[in-house]
């Protein structure tokens, strides 16, 4: 199993291609088994992962275009490991949750999902900038198809908006990546797109600044940061449930992952310099979108906007420049993936039954669908960051870490725990509490076996990682501390050296 990462990337692709010849009736079973095998493989990756090693593991290197140093180069460390596992898991759960009766052309859906899975895992394990970029862009295509083919009434508008928006951003990112390669060439007269080589590159602060901006645009569009967030509500509003789940759970994480993988280690000084801008944008993003979420009438839109708000928390965690905040941010990526994925699934379930997502059409659902309400309640509590759920660990660590950078900003960003509670609880109250306002809802059935199978693992993880996050946090922390040590070592300006805190490891090594 030396080539586990290659298998992880290309197994869904092969299975997806083979999926075209699978019979329509067995398409879902096929999809589940493929995604299940993929998930087991990703678990195997976790178990054979060396937890004490902070470097890249399972690396594979195969030059493709030697003249330009473009190669097939993959590897995982603590930062990407769990995002890969999460991608595999969310895909599996998404496929399980598909309703064969409601979705026409389920075969195409399964195939697109498998392609999507390939691109997602590809992005997170790529160590070559070109490869990263290729997977990054490829991931748009299946998603475009999923939204455009199975979406709501304005799906084409939403799909095109989603595509063009993120595509425009990533082109600028591509320019940034190419110029880094060029600068590397200038310095060493070697062409390479190997990320690990790039980490050795020492750039002047001014160059860092511009390159940071170029990459920032690509990543920020994807995150999506304020004011580049408006494609997301449209995409979520129109996407089918499964599309929203994967979009929120995994695709958004590509942006934040990009910041961790590229921006921070490549441009430590620029990152430190840009903290004020990022923080202002993130805080606007946290509070503003949370308030917009409160104003929504559509359950799915609330969760869509709340996603943006939570991504803001992740952003400030990434730029906390210390192990607590950064590890917290990465943990929060996983947590947000699980929680928002589950919430979108839940909204999808009620939409499938009633054909509406408007809260005014519901009320008193807790009396009719107690199990549904309970699971929704658990996810809601995780979403507002209740201790002993997965949501708290990340949010707490992020805010804790960020406090070191700016206490005032932390207080403002911390209001997210209040306004988060406001919109989530009002959502819960409007749809689940009170009298049954809509008589036609009385006949609604509680969750069936398929839905429970999809949701229970998420509930289990939400609770498990809330109580015992150590198996996940430890590898993350290891890699994060290595990252911070490298950044501190690389940083040129004294202020950056001061801001980046990498205590633990440095002490131990002495």
């Amino acid at each position: 199993m030396e080539h586990i990462l290659t298998i992880l990337i290309f197994f869904p692709l092969l299975a997806g291609i083979l999926g075209f010849i699978v019979d329509r009736d067995s398409a879902k079973a096929y999809g589940i088994s493929v995604a299940g095998i993929e998930f087991l493989l990703s678990l195997w990756l976790w178990f054979s992962f060396d937890m004490d090693n902070a470097d890249m593991q399972f690396t594979e290197f195969l030059p493709i275009i030697k003249e330009f140093g473009i190669s097939y180069n993959v590897g995982v460390d603590g930062i990407s490991l769990f995002i890969v596992i999460m991608s595999a898991m969310i895909t599996l759960i998404g496929i399980i949750s598909l309703n064969e009766e409601k979705i026409d052309n389920i075969k195409n859906m399964i195939v697109s999902l498998l392609f999507l899975e390939m691109t997602m895992i590809g992005v997170f394990v790529a160590l070559d900038a070109i490869m990263f970029y290729i997977f990054w862009e490829l991931s748009l295509v299946p998603m475009l198809y999923i939204i455009g083919a199975w979406g709501g009434p304005t799906r084409v508008y939403a799909a095109i908006k989603f595509f063009l928006y993120t595509f425009a951003g990533s082109l600028i990112m591509l320019v940034g990546l190419l110029s880094i390669a060029y600068l590397y060439h200038l310095e060493t007269s070697v062409w390479t797109f190997n990320l690990l080589d790039w980490y050795q590159l020492d750039l002047s602060v001014n160059l860092q600044y511009w390159l940071f901006l170029a990459l920032f645009i690509g990543f920020a569009f994807k995150v999506p940061m304020f004011p580049f967030h408006t494609w997301l509500p449209h995409a979520h509003g129109q996407a089918p449930t499964i599309g929203s789940v994967i979009l929120a759970a995994v695709l958004l994480k590509m942006g934040t992952y990009g910041f961790v993988r590229f921006s921070l280690p490549l441009f430590p000084d620029a990152s430190v310099q840009m903290i004020p801008m990022i923080v202002v944008l993130s805080i606007i993003m946290i509070i503003y979108t949370a308030m917009v979420a409160f104003a929504q009438k559509d359950m799915k839109q609330i969760i869509a906007y709340s996603s943006i708000s939570h991504m803001g928390i992740i952003m400030i965690g990434i730029f906390a420049m210390n192990s607590e905040g950064l590890s917290g941010a990465i943990f929060q990526m996983i947590s947000h993936g699980m929680v928002s994925g589950a919430l979108f699934l839940l909204v999808g379930i009620i939409y499938e039954r009633t054909g509406t997502k408007l809260m005014s059409k519901f009320g008193g659902l807790a009396s009719i669908m107690p199990v549904y309400a309970t699971i929704f309640g658990v996810m809601l509590m995780a979403s507002v960051g209740l201790p002993l759920t997965i949501g708290f660990v990340g949010e707490f660590l992020v805010l804790l870490g960020f406090y070191k950078i700016s206490p005032m900003a932390t207080v403002i960003a911390g209001t997210s725990i209040i306004i988060g509670a406001i919109y989530m609880l009002s959502l819960f109250k409007k749809s689940f509490f009170g009298e049954v306002t809509n008589e036609s809802n009385r006949g609604l059935k509680d969750l069936n076996a398929r839905e429970i199978t999809a949701l229970l693992p998420l509930v289990a993880i939400v609770v498990w990682l809330g109580i015992y996050p150590k198996p996940v946090l430890k590898p993350i922390d290891n890699s994060v501390q290595k990252l911070l040590i490298d950044m501190k070592y690389k940083a040129r300006t004294p202020e950056a050296k001061k801001s980046i805190i990498s205590i633990q490891r440095a002490k131990e090594e002495k």
Binding site: P153, T154, V156, Y157
Partner: protein, 192 residues
């Protein structure tokens, strides 16, 4: 001196003949003047010492190409004057004139004029059929063969095109994929 006189005679006649070609309403007139112009062009080639090229010009252009045009003309109704609608004659003359002026200025500009001083007199011709043959079959052998194949392909294509019935369109009907207007309406409603 002869060269001087010959050049100007040829030059004036080609300009006139080609102008007739371009501006005449009658196809036959244009074609005839074109053929005549071609002959005049070959005169330049002789003047420049490119004898072989001149001969080829006469044979291929004046002979083959013009014959081809003449045959093709039989398919069309050429007795009538060509009726055309000229959308923006001013633009045409402006552009054409501009281009002519620019060319003249460029080629007669003192900078270029100085740079383009004749290194060797034109009369010291290198071009004769023998020399051309040598170059053509050594240095330009592959382009020559390619040109031959191209001519063959063109011949085949010409025969096929002229002979085969191609009255059916290849494009299929376009499916209306998205009703954009209805989508816009929904969006407008939403934003309200």
């Amino acid at each position: 001196m002869y060269e001087f006189i010959a050049f100007y005679i040829f030059a004036i006649s080609t300009v006139i003949l080609f102008s007739i070609t371009v501006f005449s309403k009658n196809v036959l007139y244009s074609m005839t003047s074109l053929a005549a112009g071609m002959v005049m062009i070959s005169g330049f080639f002789f003047l420049l010492g490119a004898d072989f090229l001149g001969v080829v010009q006469l044979i291929v252009y004046v002979g083959a190409v013009m014959a081809l045009y003449a045959f093709a003309m039989m398919f069309f109704d050429t007795t009538k004057d060509v009726k055309e609608k000229y959308n923006s004659p001013r633009l045409v003359f402006l552009l054409g004139g501009l281009m002519a002026v620019v060319f003249v200025i460029i080629f007669s500009a003192p900078i270029i004029g100085e740079n383009l001083q004749v290194l060797s007199p034109i009369t010291d011709g290198v071009g004769n059929a023998q020399a051309v043959g040598k170059v053509l079959f050594t240095k330009y052998l592959i382009p020559f063969e390619v040109a031959a194949i191209m001519l063959l392909v063109a011949m085949v294509a010409g025969i096929i095109l002229a002979g085969k019935k191609m009255d059916k369109s290849l494009t299929t009907t376009v499916l209306p994929l998205v009703d954009k207007e209805s989508e816009d309406e929904i969006l407008k409603k939403e934003s309200r």
